[in-house]
């Protein structure tokens, strides 16, 4: 199996604050990788660098073997990188279906309108949003918003999907459904990198876990393995006490 | 050499009024969070107020200063209550268009009432000058400069020493803080907007003597103030005085040294405004 995503020595400073320091990690094809860490560990910075919303000071990002470090966000999406945001940002004046159509039509250039519409119908079914397809995105409940965020990223037909705390705020039952949904997405051939605070979700979903603290990778391995490590326990517990 | 120094002196004297008007704009932007396209119209009203009192009652513009301050404060408060407050929760677009609409309305109302002519208030001391070695200082520009600095100093004292002033600065930095001081954000907004208008109103009286009163004089100063505020850093009160000085000096130099510079003076402001906005956007990550 090849590497879906590879990050080599990625660094980023904000006004003197070292947000990420020489972070290297990779995502195997067909894998579900969790990136965890306490608040301020640099998880969101990592995702913003990966999707191209901010530019790295140093380091490289390879998507399916191709260097995308200097490509703009839209080109990364065209090459197969999808992202769902932590703070849901639907286009409120568009309907749910139109929100997905944006991803489907522009996520992969050259797609015909009919094909895009068919694909959107599929994603609507998959994510359970079909009954709300014609509602304005500004009128959705939080749960529906979360689903829309995921569905819209999926609509771009990603090969690698970045998920930023898409389970936050969900009830246990809803989170369980979401976990099953992410598994189905992976089974359809998408590699998934996700950021999550809810440890049960991480345990249930992740094949492998990478732990960030103060912008550095401090542990990597299965959930059980990293949960044992002293540094990880310190990072999570030590500073809270 | 003397011409250069005289030019710089003229620019320096003008910078006071510019700083006064732009400080008002920065107050409404920094505290209330609204880009007020109608800011200069308070100035225009002050200028016409001064003109009317002078032409009809023979009232010295010195008296109009206080009247204009109060009148503009009142009108500013009413505008805030009636027009600005309802659109504070609305999108930026609506806020901008509302103040833009107000500006157009007031300018053209003035045009209907007074016509397009420029009107100058000419008290006996209008042309008085002081000589300082080889240099000439207009008495009125000098007075306006001193008065502007005095008002800005008082504002500074108010902002740093009084509870209301502290609340105002707190709002400018963090929208949540004023509640902690037991002062409603809404009252702070009202006061800030009224003060902003009052500063412009006083400046209008000064300009009715130094420059003129006309329906469009306010909008010109709105744009100049935008340039100053953009150069100072949007909403940054401290940067306003130096930015006003830079622009006033640049304006004086252009009008003295460029052939036909009179008409290009305005372009200086617009160019600075344009470059400041564009430069700021490209520098941020």
């Amino acid at each position: 199996m090849g590497k879906a995503l590879e990050v080599i020595g990625l660094s980023k400073r904000f006004l003197g604050l070292q947000a990420l320091k020489e972070v290297s990690l990779h995502l195997e094809e067909g894998e579900i990788l969790a990136v965890i860490g306490p608040n301020g560990a640099g998880k969101s910075t990592l995702l913003n660098l990966l999707s191209g919303l901010i530019k790295p000071d140093q380091g490289r990002i390879l998507l399916l073997g191709r260097d995308i470090s200097h490509l703009p966000p839209e080109t990364r999406t065209h090459l197969g990188l999808g992202r769902a945001f932590q703070i849901v940002q639907p286009f409120p004046e568009l309907s749910v279906r139109e929100n997905l159509l944006v991803g489907a039509l522009f996520g992969k250039p050259g797609l015909k309108r009919k094909e895009a519409e068919a694909w959107v119908a599929e994603v609507l079914d998959l994510t359970g949003l079909a009954p709300r397809a014609e509602a304005l995105a500004g009128e959705l409940t939080l749960l529906e918003d979360k689903r829309l965020e995921l569905a819209r990223a999926l609509a771009t037909r990603p090969k690698v999907l970045l998920l930023d705390e898409v389970m936050a705020g969900l009830r246990p039952k809803e989170a369980e459904e979401a976990v099953a949904l992410v598994r189905r997405i992976r089974d359809s051939g998408v590699s998934v990198l996700f950021i999550e605070h809810l440890m049960p979700v991480v345990r249930a979903l992740a094949d492998r876990v990478v732990v960030l603290d103060h912008g550095e990778v401090i542990a990597e391995g299965t959930y059980e393995k990293v949960a044992q490590e002293e540094r990880v326990r310190e990072a999570y517990l030590g500073r809270r006490a | 050499m003397e011409l250069l120094l005289q030019t710089l002196l003229n620019g320096l004297l003008m910078s006071g009024v510019y700083a006064l008007v732009a400080t008002g704009l920065a107050l409404s932007l920094g505290v209330v969070g609204i880009v007020n396209f109608a800011h200069g119209e308070f100035l225009m009203m002050g200028a016409f107020l001064s003109y009317l009192f002078f032409a009809l009652q023979g009232l010295d513009p010195l008296f109009s200063l206080g009247l204009a301050f109060l009148a503009a404060f009142l009108v500013g408060g009413l505008v805030y209550q009636g027009l600005i407050r309802p659109v504070l929760p609305a999108p930026e677009l609506n806020q901008m268009l509302l103040t833009f609409g107000l500006s157009i309305l007031l300018q053209n109302l003035a045009l209907l009432l007074f016509g397009a002519d420029t009107r100058v208030v000419a008290p006996s001391y209008q042309a008085a000058t002081l000589t300082l070695g080889p240099f000439f200082l207009g008495a009125v520009p000098l007075g306006a400069f001193m008065l502007s600095l005095g008002l800005l100093f008082l504002l500074q004292v108010f902002l740093t020493r009084s509870r209301l002033g502290l609340a105002m600065r707190a709002v400018a930095q963090n929208r949540l803080a004023p509640g902690l001081l037991g002062i409603e954000a809404d009252q702070v907004y009202l006061l800030a907007f009224g003060l902003a208008a009052a500063l412009a109103g006083v400046a209008g009286v000064m300009l009715s003597v130094i420059l003129y009163a006309s329906p469009t004089v306010g909008f010109i100063f709105t744009l100049k103030s935008f340039a100053i505020v953009a150069l100072a850093g949007l909403g940054n009160l401290k940067g306003v005085v130096p930015a006003a000085l830079v622009l006033a000096l640049a304006e004086a130099l252009v009008s003295t040294y460029l052939p036909g510079g009179g008409g290009l003076v305005e372009a200086v402001f617009f160019l600075v405004l344009f470059l400041a906005l564009v430069g700021r956007a490209w520098r941020s990550p």
């Binding site: 945001f85 | 027009l83 677009l93 045009l111 305005e266 956007a281």
Partner: protein, 305 residues
């Protein structure tokens, strides 16, 4: 099937304008044709402003695009004839728009608005100061096609309106609408979904400025005289933005309805007041923002971005 519901309205308006010169208007004929001319031209301006606004770029530079087109066409018309001069004027406006657009790509909302206003005022100052524009004295412009056909200016303005309506309608009912709406509502999210935001913004500004430039060109050929105060006036941008806001933003029907009502009203008011008729625009802008934020068309039903 929403698409069909607008077409009859649009066709009706356009047909009415096309046939206006042949209707039995009696002694009011000449006056109404003049009113029709200005309605067509300023409605086209409004449509072109709306087209740009759909990406979140609030242009206050439409007066500058208008002026560039007017002067470009006016200066060239005596040498190359009417139509090539109009095309040239539109290209000059387009070049100005690309210049403005490419340096302001990172400015949003009101900061774009203020920058575009500054841009517009710089150009107006230049038009006043440069030698070949005739400066404050102004520039005489020949009538279209040597003045042999009295209805030429009217039908040129009809052509501009037709073009503006077609562009706006295409942008409203094609995937371009989604790209514009996504760009307007959140540029970052739009980009992550694959929308080429830079292209969408520049194309919208370019298309809008071409229409505005054509409007300016035709305007000069009607008034036969241009001055920087008139052609580069901020008032042009004000009209261009008040009309869509009054009629209904981000649509083709809104600016059309708004244009017919407001420009018609304006032309009637000009019979009574020479200066200061913009009072009405200011008042309407305030009232609409406060009480009718979705415009006239918004009264008809729910609209989508």
């Amino acid at each position: 099937m929403r698409e069909l519901s607008h077409l009859p309205f649009l066709s009706f308006f356009l047909l009415l304008f096309a046939l206006l010169p042949f209707l039995p208007l009696g002694i009011w004929g000449a006056f109404l044709l003049d009113v029709g001319f200005f309605i067509q031209l300023f409605t086209a301006m409004a449509l072109s402003w709306d087209l740009v606004a759909r990406t979140g770029q609030l242009s206050l530079a439409h007066g500058a695009f208008f002026g560039l087109g007017a002067y470009g066409a006016g200066l060239l018309a005596p040498h190359v004839g009417t139509l090539p001069a109009l095309v040239f004027g539109a290209f000059v406006a387009g070049a100005g728009a690309l210049l403005l657009g490419s340096v302001t790509l990172r400015l949003h909302g009101l900061y774009f608005a203020i920058a575009s206003l500054a841009f517009s005022e710089v150009l107006r100052t230049l038009a006043l100061k440069l030698a070949f524009t005739g400066g404050p004295i102004g520039l005489p412009v020949p009538p279209p096609f040597g003045g042999v056909w009295p209805l030429a200016a009217y039908y040129l303005s009809f052509g501009v309106l037709l073009l503006a309506t077609a562009l706006s309608h295409w942008a409203e009912w094609s995937p371009f609408r989604l790209a514009q709406a996504a760009t307007r509502q959140s540029e970052a999210v739009a980009r992550v979904l694959g929308v080429r935001v830079v292209r969408v913004k520049l194309w919208s500004l370019l298309l809008g400025s071409l229409v505005a430039g054509l409007s300016g060109g035709v305007y000069g050929m009607k008034t036969l005289f241009l001055s920087p105060y008139d052609a580069f006036s901020l008032g042009r941008a004000v009209e261009a933005l008040v009309i869509p806001i009054f009629g209904g933003l981000y649509s083709t029907l809104g600016p059309l309805v708004g244009g017919v009502v407001l420009v018609g009203l304006e032309q009637a008011l000009r019979l009574w007041i020479k200066e200061g008729y913009l009072v009405v625009y200011g008042a309407i802008l305030i009232l609409v923002i406060l009480f009718l934020p979705r415009g006239l068309v918004g009264l008809l039903g729910r609209r989508r971005g």
